[in-house]
């Protein structure tokens, strides 16, 4: 059990997000937040990500981290639609994400129903593991 700190709340509600200070893709993913000025840790807990234990997990991490980076920029852009630099970066991350998805699907099979890896018998949608680990 952790010690409970009743002064844990530090709601840093800045109203202006002038400078776009971003973490790297890897650090942002582990932290769950791409934006340096929005990050709020909890009681000295250090975010960590267990190292992938096989190729499938490693390739899945690549998909997850680039899609996460693009998604956090997506939410920023919904509120800040004129930020050209952010739009550029979003598209860079999306490109990396699409490559990571292609690489994964080539090795392991389809992860969406719009994949072009659904053209073999038996039905490819059954080939890939379900995310909650039911097959393991």
């Amino acid at each position: 059990m952790k010690n409970v700190n009743l002064n844990k709340k530090n709601m840093n509600l800045q109203n202006s997000f002038d400078k776009l200070q971003l973490y790297s893709v890897d650090e942002g993913f582990v932290k769950g937040n791409l934006f340096v000025n929005l990050y709020q840790g909890y009681q000295g807990y250090t975010p960590q990500l267990a190292a992938p234990s096989n190729l499938e997990e490693a390739m899945m991490h690549e998909i997850q981290k680039y899609t996460f980076a693009a998604h956090d920029l997506n939410l920023y852009l919904d509120n800040n639609p004129d930020d050209a630099r952010a739009i550029e970066l979003f598209n860079e991350y999306q490109k990396m994400a699409k490559e990571a998805i292609q690489n994964y699907e080539k090795e392991f099979g389809p992860i969406s129903l719009s994949s072009n890896k659904l053209d073999t018998v038996p039905w490819g949608w059954h080939k890939t593991n379900w995310p909650w680990g039911g097959d393991k």
Binding site: F17, Y39, Y42, L49, S53, M60, L75, N79, G133
Partner: protein, 194 residues
């Protein structure tokens, strides 16, 4: 419309069963400040947002929350899958088993089934966004409580990630709220923002 990608938003690999922990983590599935309520709240509010900023933010965060539902359910599955009768007995899990077997069920930590009864929706964007800011703050506090209740790093990792997402969502809702507040103060009506 909705599409599905066969992957988690963030990796979850829980190695040790813990039915007692599952009994409290379930609050973020079907509880008052949980992910299912959040998804429905935001996806419901998006229809009456006054401009593209509101429509897109509510849609995009609401969609992300559905992915969070999946993460919570994954945690519940991994924390309970393969439990023996002795483990059920020891963890006080017999009521769940009697009603739901080893199936998942969206309830709060007391077993009260999920309800949308108190999901705020007023059609007033400033009010809806204040509801959302409060909802995110409550979810963040709940994740902090859950983090206080375990030392298992496999569980702490995804809980910390989900907590941080609440921090970000709160900031984005606050940002949009302040934008609309300024717009309305300068004489715009809801209709003129579209």
């Amino acid at each position: 419309m909705f599409m599905y990608e066969k992957r988690l938003l963030y990796p979850i690999n829980i190695k040790n069963r813990d039915l007692r922990l599952a009994k409290v983590i379930v609050t973020q599935y079907g509880g008052p400040y949980g992910e299912l309520g959040a998804a429905l709240r935001y996806l419901n509010q998006r229809y009456t947002m006054p401009c593209d900023r509101g429509r897109s933010l509510l849609t995009d965060i609401g969609t992300e929350e559905l992915g969070h539902v999946e993460m919570i359910c994954t945690m519940l599955y991994q924390l309970t899958n393969g439990a023996t009768m002795e483990e059920l007995e020891e963890a006080g899990f017999k009521q769940h088993y009697a009603q739901y077997g080893m199936g998942l069920f969206p309830s709060d930590a007391f077993g009260v089934p999920f309800s949308v009864a108190n999901i705020g929706s007023t059609g007033d964007p400033l009010v809806d966004l204040q509801e959302n800011i409060a909802a995110e703050a409550k979810a963040q506090a709940t994740y902090e409580h859950l983090m206080d209740l375990t030392d298992d790093p496999d569980v702490l990792e995804p809980l910390a990630y989900l907590r941080q997402r609440e921090v970000v969502h709160l900031a984005r809702f606050q940002e949009l709220h302040d934008y609309y507040k300024e717009k309305f103060q300068s004489g715009n009506t809801v209709k003129s923002l579209a």
